[in-house]
Amino acid sequence: MGGIVGLPILGYLLAPLFSAPPDELVPVGAISDFPLGETKLVSIRDPSPLAWAGQTADTALWVRRRDASGPTMFQVFNVNCTHLGCPVNWQAGAELFLCPCHGGVFYSDGTVAGGPPPRPLFEREWEVSGDRLLVRQQPLPTVKQG
């Protein structure tokens, strides 16, 4: 009896462990949206969000336009600080990412400039398709990746 009740409920509750992580490129904007040398916040939408997910179906990313074209054209960063995951903030004047939780600081290329973060900001795979910038979806945690 325990098994009859237990197995379905266990499978139901543990389902997130067995679902495949997303592996999809999602458009985040036109290339012309990203002026050379600037770093901008973009949001991407979960490809198949739950109907009641509201604002949480979105994820934010920092996109830095480094070059006019070529493989070093963009750098796409997770907003999560590599320390504990709080959202880092781009300070255009200082050209630094600052974290509000424990004071992590990153340079514009994502490398650590100060504070507790153990490694550079996590970068996302990106691709240019026509005049659109596409970014690969990624699950939490960011810590174990890269």
């Binding site: 979105d58 934010a60 995951g85 004047g93 200082a94 600052l98 939780c101 004071g103 507790p116 174990k144």
Partner: protein, 473 residues
């Protein structure tokens, strides 16, 4: 007036009818009247009310929690709005939510106070080890309730707290990534996350708490309430039970001789929480949860601020140990306490180690909490300006430097005359500490926690900035 006499008899007759049907005299009343040591009649008995006060607040949490659940909508697109409705529009909503909020803080404080008293009185020793162990599980459950409850606000604090919890869980060896996927119930914090935390907060953990409280109270009655400790009278396992039985023969009934203090203690706790709620109301929510709004400044509730502060203050290399190891060590120690020291002296005056084991963590956590409230390591992200007294009478280059100080975010970490961040050194008197060359080199190359600005400042800008800083004598 014979009808008056008839009416006066009604309550007694109802009581007699109920008594005959339920026969509580040899069950519930017998348990309530169980004997307790006579010493509890003395003022020392007041120390024994903390557990009852905790239980009363728990019942209040259940009642106010059920009330909140009548209105709260546990879905990401509605949770925040439903809480705003409870806090600002629903009749007495602010008071009910306030009671639940202050009640949560009171639970944490009272559970810890109760445990501290039990620990210092040596009441966890033989034969009451299992009382301590069930109590320790109740502490864990209380902290889990506090954390999951904060997430249900679904504001920016809550959202980023889930993200931080998920990222911290990922550091656990072997099962880290699984744990993270289970916490967020999927790939990212989203539609499935909040409902899981809600079900955990209102069904799973409370069910465990009900069971544990039942077991805890069973043990309290079965093992008997411990006598106040006497210095020089250690617990000796072979003879303790006989001595305690002898003590109970001279004892007093818990109800009503000792229970009235519990009732007073419980009432005081509930009144205090209700007053706080009535006067201060429900705490304001932060901005609604929004993964795309990175202008967040997430903070946990006050009793978790010390842990929040630790993570900013320890050397990064020790983090994995602290995040996983420190809570693990603390709770392992907690569970080992009655197993390692089941007998011996009970009185705190003969247990200096026990006093240290209470005082040192208390002082440390209090200092960390103060640090967490001040959070000097956090850069000042939102705008600001240097005070007029600083910018008055500056020359052209100096003025340009003062503007750069703000626009290049030096201001985020360094203060001048009280304005600015506190992460780096105060620069009110920078000019009297460092020469032009030293200042230029430090800004250009950074070091000691400071970023290098050579890449983001033109050399003329760097000159102007240094010129300005040198005016600060």
């Amino acid at each position: 007036m014979s009808w008056l006499r008839v009416v006066a008899k009604i309550p007694r007759e109802i009581a007699a009818w109920l008594d005959e049907r339920f026969e509580l005299e040899d069950s519930v009343m017998a348990v309530l009247r169980h004997p307790v040591p006579r010493e509890l009649e003395r003022p020392v008995g007041w120390w024994y009310v903390l557990g009852s006060a905790t239980l009363a607040i728990f019942v209040m949490q259940v009642v106010t929690g059920v009330g909140l659940a009548m209105t709260y909508v546990p879905a990401p697109n509605s949770a925040y709005d439903s809480l705003q409705f409870i806090s600002h529009e629903a009749t007495l909503g602010a008071v009910v939510r306030g009671m639940h909020y202050f009640g949560a803080g009171a639970m944490v404080v009272l559970v810890l106070a109760h445990m501290t008293q039990v620990y210092l009185f040596g009441a966890f020793k033989f034969p009451r080890e299992a009382n301590w162990l069930t109590g320790s599980l109740l502490l864990l459950a209380t902290l889990a309730m506090a954390f999951t409850g904060q997430l249900l606000r679904w504001d920016q604090d809550a959202f980023w707290a889930v993200v931080v919890a998920a990222e911290q869980a990922a550091r656990a060896p072997l099962i880290g990534e699984w744990l993270t996927r289970l916490i967020v119930a999927g790939n990212n914090v989203g539609g499935a996350t909040l409902t899981r935390f809600y079900a955990t907060h209102v069904f799973l953990i409370p069910a465990a708490i009900f069971g544990l409280i039942g077991l805890h109270l069973y043990l309290v009655v079965k093992r008997g309430i411990s006598e106040p400790p006497v210095a020089g009278l250690p617990v000796d396992r072979p003879s303790y039970r006989a001595r305690y039985a002898e003590m109970l023969r001279r004892g007093i009934p818990f109800w009503p001789d000792s229970a009235w203090r519990d009732a007073v203690g419980a009432a005081l706790a509930v009144v205090a929480v209700a007053l706080l709620a009535a006067i201060l109301g429900a705490p304001d929510l932060n901005k609604p949860a929004d993964p795309t709004n990175v202008l967040a400044d997430p903070r946990p509730d006050w009793y978790f601020l010390g842990y929040f502060a630790i993570l900013a203050l320890i050397p990064p290399a020790t983090e994995a140990i602290v995040i996983v190891g420190l809570p693990l060590f603390a709770f392992t120690f907690l569970f080992l306490v009655p197993l390692l020291w089941p007998d011996g002296e009970r009185h705190w005056s003969r247990r200096p180690g026990a006093i240290a084991a209470v005082a040192l963590p208390l002082i440390a956590y209090a200092s960390l909490t103060v640090a967490g409230i001040e959070s000097p390591w956090v850069p000042k992200l939102e705008g600001g300006a240097l005070p007029a007294s600083v910018t008055q009478g500056l020359g052209d280059a100096e003025r340009r430097g003062a503007d750069l100080f703000v626009s290049k975010a030096c201001f985020a970490c360094h203060a001048i005359e009280g304005a600015g961040g506190r992460r780096g050194p105060d620069l009110s008197h920078a000019g009297s500490r460092m020469s032009r060359d030293q200042t230029t080199a430090r800004i250009a190359t950074g070091g000691g926690g400071m970023p290098a600005f050579a890449g983001s400042l033109a050399s003329s800008e760097l000159d102007d900035l240094v010129t300005f800083l040198l005016t600060r004598k």
